[in-house]
């Protein structure tokens, strides 16, 4: 397919790769076009924290060089953006926080390094909830991101900048991270595809830590096909991450077309509790479509799943309070003015360097780990986590994948849920389970309610990313929800 420079932004990774390969397009041209587009929409969407135009153009020139020398791969010259939680040598890594507002990492995250080695060109760093703690992108020190489908609405979070940037066709793909739904929830709310791989599949080295037993890097793209191309480069064993898993990475693109005949799809009964009644028919229609392709649909129940949110709000804050103890105002990060003594330096640097939501979670984490409360909260939550994980394991004896909605509602208005943290937390009610059990999951667009996109979530057993991408791709072959672009961004 041939396109003019004016509509390059509408092409996906697979199409751009073909154009670069055929020589009808250079990476420098493509990079210039998308950088201009990012600049044009930055004020309106605030999807980026850093736009790295200079280094992007240099990388693009190198990619074109590689292509001339015949050493290019499928991703050589493809522009992408990184969530600002991934360390990038030479560009700021803020994690959406005042604490790291001026931090320049001395090294690249493994994810950044691998995509760079594959020839991908980084256009910038995307906005996010501070330290990835949030579901609306409103906790960013750099201001909220707007949803391209409706600027009065949130894009979701914490990877709100990545989701908005891909939805608005500013970049064809962006990296993201998911601790309780931070890839899938914004992907659903912005009408794009988001995959959270199995825990340990993608290296966490150089990814600023929030809750280390839940954090996992992944992608936001326009299609499952694009996600397959990028994940193949990102995933894999890394000796620098002690929880990285030593398993070979399959060729995800190779199994995309596999027929769905005989696929056993479980519909989670618990995922229809509290679901917006306008979203339910969209999920039912998606199930009917999978059924029409030969999948066998059956209802399953995970009795402990409704306890996911309370488990998460013990485990994640506990790990966060421990991980964020490193921000002491001494070695790097924000330091308060005129500290009286060392304790004052610690306490005021942290009080001013962290925003309200981060401090709230540090407080909860410190509370549940403190003497006298440890067993009642932390140990109990870890036990219930085991029960939830066991529920999933049993379900996967009966079915191949679990399907349901990604979020209970479509995108809500900015400010609608900031008054009460618990109301905000309940947004992740359908996504947290996969994190607790370490399972891979993907969200794909499945329709619209009042002009706002909704997401279909597919969860699978450990290390079955290829199957998830296959099901998502077959679904996207039969639907065009993922190809719809918000008005004003065509």
């Amino acid at each position: 397919m041939s396109r003019g420079v004016s509509d390059l932004h509408l092409a996906d990774v697979a199409q751009l790769s073909a154009q670069l390969q055929s020589g009808q397009l250079s990476s420098v041209e493509l990079t210039q076009a998308l950088l201009a587009r990012i600049e044009q929409h930055q004020r309106e969407l605030n999807a980026f924290i850093t736009i790295s135009a200079d280094s992007a153009l240099q990388e693009a020139a190198r990619a074109d060089e590689r292509r001339r020398h015949g050493t290019a791969g499928a991703l050589t010259g493809i522009p992408i953006a990184h969530k600002d939680i991934f360390c990038t040598a030479g560009e700021k890594t803020t994690c959406g926080s005042r604490m790291l507002a001026d931090f320049v990492s001395p090294y690249d995250a493994t994810v950044v390094q691998r995509l760079r080695a594959a020839g991908a060109v980084m256009l910038g760093k995307t906005n996010m909830d501070e330290f990835a703690m949030g579901s609306s992108n409103e906790s960013s020190h750099f201001g909220p991101v707007r949803n391209p489908w409706n600027p009065a609405r949130v894009p979701g979070g914490s990877s709100g900048g990545s989701a908005a940037a891909v939805a608005a066709r500013l970049v064809p793909a962006a990296t993201a991270t998911d601790t309780g739904g931070s890839i899938r929830q914004p992907a659903a709310l912005c009408g794009v595809t988001g995959i959270k791989p199995t825990y340990g599949r993608v290296s966490r080295y150089g990814m600023v830590a929030f809750a280390s037993s839940l954090d996992q890097g992944g992608l936001i793209t326009r299609s499952a096909h694009d996600a397959a191309l990028l994940l193949a480069q990102m995933a894999g064993f890394d000796e620098r991450d002690s929880t990285s898993v030593e398993l070979p990475v399959p060729d995800y693109a190779a199994s995309l077309e596999q027929p769905l005949k005989g696929l056993k799809v479980g519909v989670l009964r618990e995922f229809f509790d509290g679901l917006d009644e306008a979203i339910e028919p969209l999920i039912r229609a998606a199930l009917a479509l999978l059924h029409a392709q030969g999948a066998v649909i059956r209802e399953v129940s995970l009795p402990h799943l409704p306890l996911s949110v309370p488990v998460y709000y013990v485990v994640a804050p506990a790990e966060c309070s421990s991980n964020l103890a490193r921000f002491d105002g001494v070695r790097y990060g924000y330091r308060c003015e005129a500290p009286r003594d060392l304790t004052d330096l610690y306490q005021r640097s942290r009080a001013h360097g962290f925003g309200a939501e981060v401090k709230r979670r540090i407080m909860i984490g410190t509370y549940v780990l403190s003497a006298g409360y440890y067993d009642a909260y932390y140990l109990k939550a870890q036990q219930v986590r085991a029960l939830i994980s066991r529920d999933f394991e049993q379900a996967f004896h009966e079915v191949d994948v679990l399907v349901g909605p990604t979020t209970p509602t479509t995108a809500f208005e900015l400010g609608a849920k900031t008054h009460d943290p618990v109301t905000m937390y309940l947004n992740d009610i359908y996504t947290i389970g996969a994190n607790l059990a370490g399972l891979p999951a993907i969200s794909v667009p499945c329709g619209f309610v009042g002009g706002l996109p909704a997401g279909l979530q597919i969860i699978g057993p450990h290390f079955c990313e290829a199957r998830l991408l296959n099901v998502a791709h077959r679904y996207q072959r039969e639907t065009d929800w993922h190809q719809r672009a918000p008005r004003g961004f065509l």
């Binding site: 001026d102 320049v104 001395p106 825990y199 340990g200 037993s213 839940l214 000796e239 002690s242 929880t243 898993v245 402990h304 306890l307 949110v309 309370p310 709000y313 013990v314 103890a325 105002g329 001494v330 070695r331 790097y332 990060g333 330091r335 500290p339 009286r340 003594d341 060392l342 304790t343 004052d344 330096l345 306490q347 942290r350 009080a351 962290f354 709230r360 540090i362 407080m363 909860i364 410190t366 509370y367 549940v368 403190s370 909260y377 140990l379 109990k380 870890q382 036990q383 219930v384 986590r385 085991a386 029960l387 994980s389 009460d420 943290p421 618990v422 937390y425 994190n435 059990a437 370490g438």
Partner: protein, 96 residues
Amino acid sequence: MSIEHSDVESIARLARLALTAEEIPQSAQELARILGMVEQLKRADTAGVTPMSHPLPGQRQRLRTDAVTETDQHELYQRNAPQVQAGLYLVPRVVE
């Protein structure tokens, strides 16, 4: 569920977070609200259940070989430090 102001003060001290007088009652209220939601965990029967701390069952902690793999790059690393002198991090005087 309610949280005493004195509890908030002691948690903040443990977490090394300075709180203003106005922030204490608000923080007490928010913590009570969140911990109230967490109380639902009591409903689950967890007798004899082994607590889960790693999401992949059977995964063992890998150890690297005890070998020098990093070179000294303190100047590079200290570029992000608020205050450095002669390769040392500066903090307010601790011992008089």
